[in-house]
């Protein structure tokens, strides 16, 4: 009843090609943004920021990045954790070397550095494909983590081998360090996430995105119709690594504050982000957010129910979480390979006809 496009006419090509062609969708999106920017910051407290909102936004950025590479360009990567570590360490070095520059630029430059590293590790993708490449990206994962562990320059020769973020401000508001307010953390991540999502959406529906998708669907055929595989694959690696690097920088500087590389950016992180995009939906911007929300909320929910309500041991809850996640991955791949995003699309199709299905 509510959700339909009757009376919604596009009179220009721009209107026809917009992201939310249906008015109801568009207004829903505006309302969501308004709530995120104007309501949540006033209600948020430390628990909600640290347990739900900030990790959700950061993982959403990482999932967007991996989705560009895997979902749009078809190159499976298991090196996400390693690239996040590059972002984190680059951000740390920048924060300590140039304390007067705004943290906002540090985060973006950290993303840029990660993009460079990503391109280097993306070079083999021109020769090797599919799961051969997936295994090859493990090289990036293990090598980068080892590098940040062993070369003291990266952690400024600190005795513990950890990096911890000093206090930095944006327009006089503290966004990193122990004295940060919950809303400041949240807003900082939100602004970057919205900005990057907007960039990702517009990249993927333009010429670059179509080239990526052509490569994904069949790279030889794409090459024959004139897509340059070198440019397409490396640009996907660069953009994807940029996103992941930004996510890594935020993860370290805003969310955790202090990081030990093997623990925070190990192979588990690579899988976590991969699972987000499988469950959320490969090749979908909405799916990246949905998957990130799902994988962030699931442990919180399980912990609250199993440990909080039933009083089980935490390790038991953690094992059950493993089982549920594994089962869900298999279930989604069997029943809905396009993930939550496809379920959402189907629901919308149903809603357009509801309540008169014929």
């Amino acid at each position: 009843m509510l959700y339909r496009e009757a009376g919604d006419f596009s009179s220009t090509y721009e209107k026809d090609g917009q992201t939310f062609p249906i008015k109801f969708d568009r207004w829903g999106y505006y309302v969501l943004l308004a709530v995120a920017f104007l309501v949540v910051p006033f209600l948020i407290n430390d628990y909600w920021a640290n347990a739900v909102f900030v990790p959700f936004l950061i993982y959403a950025i990482a999932a967007l990045g991996l989705n560009i590479l895997t979902g749009y360009c078809g190159q499976v990567s298991l090196g996400t954790g390693g690239f996040m570590a590059v972002g984190a360490y680059a951000c740390y070095k920048l924060m300590t070397s140039f304390p007067d520059v705004s943290i906002f630029f540090h985060v973006l430059i950290a993303g840029g550095i990660t993009a460079g590293v990503g391109v280097i590790f993306g070079l083999p993708s021109l020769r090797i494909k599919g799961f051969y490449l997936a295994v090859a990206t493990l090289a990036a994962q293990f090598f980068l983590v080892w590098l940040f562990n062993k070369v003291p320059w990266f952690y400024n020769y600190s005795a513990s081998g950890q990096i911890s973020s000093p206090e930095r401000t944006v327009f006089g508001i503290i966004v990193t360090g122990p004295n940060t307010d919950a809303w400041a953390k949240y807003m900082f991540c939100l602004i970057i996430a919205v900005l990057l999502a907007w960039i990702a959406r517009n990249l993927t529906r333009g010429a670059v995105g179509r080239k990526w998708m052509a490569i994904r669907d069949m790279d030889i055929a794409a090459e024959i119709i004139g897509v340059n595989p070198l440019k397409a694959k490396l640009s996907a690696f660069a953009v994807s690594s940029f996103f992941i690097g930004v996510a890594g920088a935020l993860f370290f500087s805003v969310y955790l504050g202090a990081v030990e590389v093997g623990e925070a950016f190990g192979i588990q992180k690579s899988f976590l982000v991969l699972f987000m995009i499988i469950i959320g939906g490969l090749g979908s911007i909405f799916g990246s957010f949905a998957g990130a929300a799902f994988m962030v909320l699931l442990p919180v929910l399980l912990k609250n129910i199993l440990v909080g309500q039933l009083g089980w041991a935490t390790d038991l809850a953690a094992h059950i979480e493993f089982m549920i996640v594994g089962g869900l991955i298999i279930g989604f791949l069997i029943m809905e390979p396009h993930g939550l995003a496809q379920l959402w699309r189907l629901a919308k199709e149903k809603l357009r006809l509801w309540p008169f299905p014929h």
């Binding site: 295994v135 090859a136 090289a139 293990f142 298999i330 791949l333």
Partner: protein, 328 residues
């Protein structure tokens, strides 16, 4: 100088033996990949699961003890008996066959004709599931596995080589046993696939699914069979690794090392898995021995992957793999 040389030789020998252990895990991958085109990421976790089950059965643990205790508030842990290792191994094998049947029924059957990469990701899901399942079933504490395999440094080799060269070689007994077992396993698998009816059917399926179906080979049976064999290989690998470094979570990470082994040797070749394992084993030990001290050590974490990566750039199908032909 000869002292240095002997030491390098010893490092190399130890690398060879470690390589055999990698090759054991890699074998399981190759078997499944050949027969079903599935890159089974869960092979390492299967080895962990098999080792956990073996220890659990031998020590008479109550399966799901933690879960039962948490739900019903009871305090059960052990049945109070111990099972002899031969019987326990047989029972574990039964569990692995059951697992193979379940995997075929619940996962593979539904994913026929999906792109390879989807199947690969499904096995990652399976790996996660099995990891949680194994821990819930048997508990996540580090266990010691003792099935009567010899342990420690072999004194005989030490003495004999000392008499010959004036330098005693330190070799692990367990590694030597593992080498023998791996050799037997490869011979056994080769004989099986060359001279038995099922083995021939297996090769036929590996060659061409549809042609095999059309001459009356049951694809589903072959899949169960091949996953069972992979489970058996996983059990042996799990026993060896478990006896070497204890049955714990990191076992499944060690098994990740089998991936570069495969890439080096080629996904479709059993000799490739062995040779790849040996190259990786020797390579990483020698690298750690020569370059390692200069860059801070622990290069074993990544050397195998980087080596495989560089190698793949020049020869994407690996050493012994079939040439990859792509058509539009």
């Amino acid at each position: 100088m000869p002292e240095q040389l002997f030491f390098a030789l010893e490092v190399m020998l130890n690398g060879l033996m470690a390589g055999v252990l990698y090759a054991l895990v890699a074998l399981g991958f190759v078997l499944i990949f050949k027969a079903s085109g599935i890159f089974n990421y869960a092979q390492g976790v299967m080895a962990l699961f098999a080792a956990l089950t073996l220890v659990g059965i031998m020590e008479g643990q109550v399966p799901f003890a933690h879960l039962i205790n948490a739900i019903f508030g009871t305090e059960v842990h052990h049945f109070g008996w111990t099972v002899p290792s031969v019987l326990a191994i047989a029972m574990t094998l039964g569990v692995m066959v059951l697992l193979a049947i379940l995997v075929e029924r619940l996962i593979l059957k539904h994913l026929v004709n999906q792109p390879d990469i989807i199947l690969f990701m499904a096995t990652i899901g399976l790996a996660y599931f099995l990891e949680g399942f194994g821990d819930i079933m048997w508990g996540s504490d580090i266990k010691t596995l003792n099935v009567g395999l010899p342990q420690g440094i072999s004194e005989t080799v030490d003495e004999v080589t000392y008499d010959w060269f004036g330098y005693g070689f330190f070799l692990d007994k367990l590694d030597m046993v593992a080498t023998v077992i791996a050799a037997l396993l490869v011979i056994g698998l080769t004989l099986f696939s060359q001279y038995t009816k099922q083995g021939r059917a297996l090769r036929a399926v590996a060659d061409d699914h549809q042609a095999a179906l059309s001459v009356g080979i049951s694809l589903r049976f072959i899949w169960v069979l091949v996953w069972s064999i992979a489970g058996f290989v996983a059990l042996i690998a799990g026993m060896m690794w478990g006896a070497k470094s204890g049955v714990q979570f990191s076992l499944s990470l060690i098994a990740l090392k089998a991936l570069p082994v495969l890439m080096l040797g080629g996904f479709t070749s059993i000799p490739g898995a062995i040779v790849g394992g040996l190259i990786i084993g020797v390579g990483e030990k020698l690298f750690e021995f020569t370059i390692g001290p200069m860059v801070g050590g622990a290069t074993e974490n990544w050397f195998a992957y980087v080596l495989a990566l560089m190698f793949l750039v020049f020869r994407p199908q690996g050493l012994f793999g079939e040439k990859i032909i792509e058509r539009v």
